[in-house]
Amino acid sequence: MSRVAVMLLFLLAGVASLVLGLKHEVARLEEERRAVLAAVKQLEGEIRVLRARYAYLARPQRLAALAAELGMEPATASRMVALEDIGTRAELAWALRVVALPLPSGASVPVRARPVVPVIGEVGR
């Protein structure tokens, strides 16, 4: 009887230490999880700071100054042309072709056709 009791006690002790070990493992993992979450939170914070910094560096006022330094200038309305106003390849080929125009004197002068495009400068001023 007492031998069985002793064995049971040892078994109990073994199980208890196992449970304790498991508990410690869970606690360790929980701590690790918490540390990872904290690191994620910190990184998210750092990303937010970096995004704010990027927005600060890419503010239009600064970009305009940098663009000017690089010799770039903003587009004007007169540089904009609608797609349908650009001639086709055939029209371009025709415009590039040099035709000899006979003069009354018998001589001839080379001429080229000018494609019809809207003169944008006409508008406004």
Partner: protein, 573 residues
């Protein structure tokens, strides 16, 4: 059995039981010991770090707010993590010495103020709400007990003063105090949504508007300035700037004058800008026609009051000429022809009596005339005796010259909506576009012309009223210009207003809207148009407007001889 043997057995059993009991006790103590080690490992560290655990009572400081982005996704406001410093004064060994040490390492913190906060018996006192990393290190090196480093969200505005009045600012607790931050405080602090809120503003357009506005504000040494760019088709505000402005990152340091939003938080008598509305009412009433002419040879007398023109022609003027040359005499007669009831109805239908509904803290109510006597009707016709915010007016003109629908002005992308359909005849809208184009092409707004775009607009120069409606200040004016482009089918409205500008040598001392505000609007249109992808106006659109000019010639002279008018039509004339 011998008695000695029985005793020996009993003794052995007792010893075995004692050993068992010792093992049980040993195990029990071992488990208690291990539990203690466990507890120490799990909570001991945190207890040390947390001090008295007061942060759990106070919670984090500075509310976490949603990011704000412009219409193209550029970040304009964000919250970044930071630290705040508090202390449990009861744990300080020497409060006076601690106050001195902390004040030494922290900027903007007074020793006397800290001593006051560290009164005996208190368990919590703020030291500084925004701690820089360097300050955090310096404080830690002091090695004082009872210090609490608390997480604190900090609102950051990377574009600095660019969007000052539009964004507003927040207090140390992260509560919105002005601008969008105040008006949309609940939406921005809603914990259920973390997504950034898209505003209608375009930072590129905002930048160029503010740049041109600032240049005009400085050049004409104005007391203040307002500028805005409104999408005529949606009511969205692409840019809104008021000067002087401030850095929203330092909202607390801004003066009341800097915080004043002149576009929505101040009402102005806008002067001749109102002639657009009077002309719309007169033409819309059917009692005035574009071909009608009015006598502007003499100043008008209404009771004891005399109404004269700034750019007097001293002859009969056609309706297009009245607008183009901004004739007070002519517009008053047009207004009288339409009648007070029509004029009032138009003003009301255009929302010029309603409170402004826009996502900003600063929203001023219009000042409406108490009674509509003849002199009131006359002055309202050219924008005196009635005061509205520039945004009220911009919204109204956008409705008149756009598609005839009054829209809610909004700072949130997709936040606009039709308030009411004015049910204007299409011909009236076309006539108004023609009149505004004419004003820029031949009239007082010529300095707003832009190569590539057909621009329509109206100049305004108004005397500033004395407080309490006791007349007007001499020598102080509000100059403005409202421009729309492309006028053949308006997409955007640009308004610039200068409060008390001073004339310069280049303007020959003139402070008229046509000299001060119109060039700024022209430059904004020239720069913003290509950026917003507005195609240049076609020669056909220009020809259509010029053809109407043949029907309603505008003569820029005093004699009124018709030849002069046709001379003006010739190319280069």
């Amino acid at each position: 059995m011998r008695p000695g043997a029985a005793e020996g057995d009993e003794l052995r059993r007792l010893r075995a039981r004692l050993r068992l009991l010792s093992v049980v006790f040993l195990l029990a103590f071992a488990s208690v010991g291990m539990r203690l080690v466990d507890l120490e490992r799990r909570y001991g560290g945190e207890e040390r770090a947390a001090g008295s655990g007061l942060e759990e009572q106070r919670g984090p400081t500075g509310a976490w707010r949603r990011d704000l982005r412009d219409r193209n996704g550029r970040l304009v406001a964000t919250s970044v993590p930071g630290l705040a410093l508090a202390v449990d004064p009861s744990r300080l060994p020497d409060r006076r010495q601690a106050a001195r040490a902390l004040a030494r390492v922290l900027s903007g913190v007074e020793e006397a103020e800290l001593r006051k906060r560290f009164r005996a018996g208190k368990r919590f006192a703020w030291v500084k709400r925004r701690l820089s990393p360097a300050e955090q290190r310096a404080v830690q090196e002091l090695g004082l007990p009872g210090l609490l480093f608390l997480p604190a969200a900090r609102r950051v505005y990377p574009q600095r003063s660019l969007l000052a009045h539009l964004l507003g600012g927040v207090d140390v607790d992260g509560r919105g105090l002005a601008g969008v931050e105040f008006a949309l405080d609940r939406t921005l602090t809603d914990p259920r949504s973390e997504e950034a809120l898209r505003l209608a503003v375009d930072v590129r357009v905002q930048q160029l508007l503010r740049e041109e506005l600032l240049a005009a504000y400085r050049r004409f040494r104005a007391k203040g300035a307002c500028g805005l760019v409104l999408d005529v088709r949606s009511g969205e505000l692409l840019a809104l700037a008021s000067l002087p402005d401030f850095d929203p990152n330092r909202f607390a340091e801004a003066t009341p004058e800097q915080r004043r939003n002149r576009c929505t938080g101040s009402v102005y008598e806008l002067g001749s800008l109102f002639k657009v509305i009077t002309a719309a009412a007169a033409l819309g009433s059917g009692r005035v026609d574009l071909a009608d002419r009015f006598d502007a040879t003499q100043p008008l007398r209404i009771g004891r009051n005399r109404i004269d023109d700034d750019h007097a022609k001293r002859r009969w003027l056609s309706v297009p000429e009245i607008l183009a040359f901004s004739s007070n005499i002519g517009i008053v007669q047009m207004s009288f022809a339409a009648g007070a009831e029509v004029q009032r109805r138009y003003l009301e239908r255009l929302g010029l009596r309603d409170p402004l509904r826009v996502e900003l803290a600063a929203r001023e109510q219009p000042l409406w005339p108490r009674e509509w006597k003849d002199i009131v009707l006359a002055t309202v016709a050219f924008g005196h005796g009635i005061a509205v915010t520039p945004l009220h007016f911009a919204r109204a003109v956008a409705a008149l010259v756009g598609d005839g629908r009054l829209r809610r002005a909004t700072l949130v992308k997709g936040g606009g909506g039709v308030l009411r359909d004015l049910e204007l005849p299409p011909q009236l809208i076309r006539d108004l576009r023609f009149l505004l184009w004419l004003t820029v092409e031949r009239g007082t707004g010529q300095r707003a012309r832009v190569p590539g775009y057909l621009v329509g607009g109206k100049t305004g120069t108004a005397d500033k009223p004395l407080p309490g409606g006791r007349g007007y200040r001499s020598g102080e004016v509000v100059s403005s210009f409202v421009g729309l482009f492309p006028i053949e089918d308006p997409r955007y409205l640009v308004l610039v207003l200068l409060d008390e500008p001073q004339g310069t040598e280049a303007t020959f001392g003139f402070r008229y809207g046509g000299w001060t505000a119109a060039p700024a609007v022209g430059r904004v249109i020239a720069r913003a148009g290509p950026l917003l992808g507005v195609p240049p106006s076609t020669p056909r659109a220009r020809r259509a407007l010029l053809a109407r000019l043949q029907v309603y010639p505008v003569v820029n002279g005093r004699t009124g001889r018709r030849e002069e008018g046709f001379a003006a039509l010739r190319p280069g004339g």
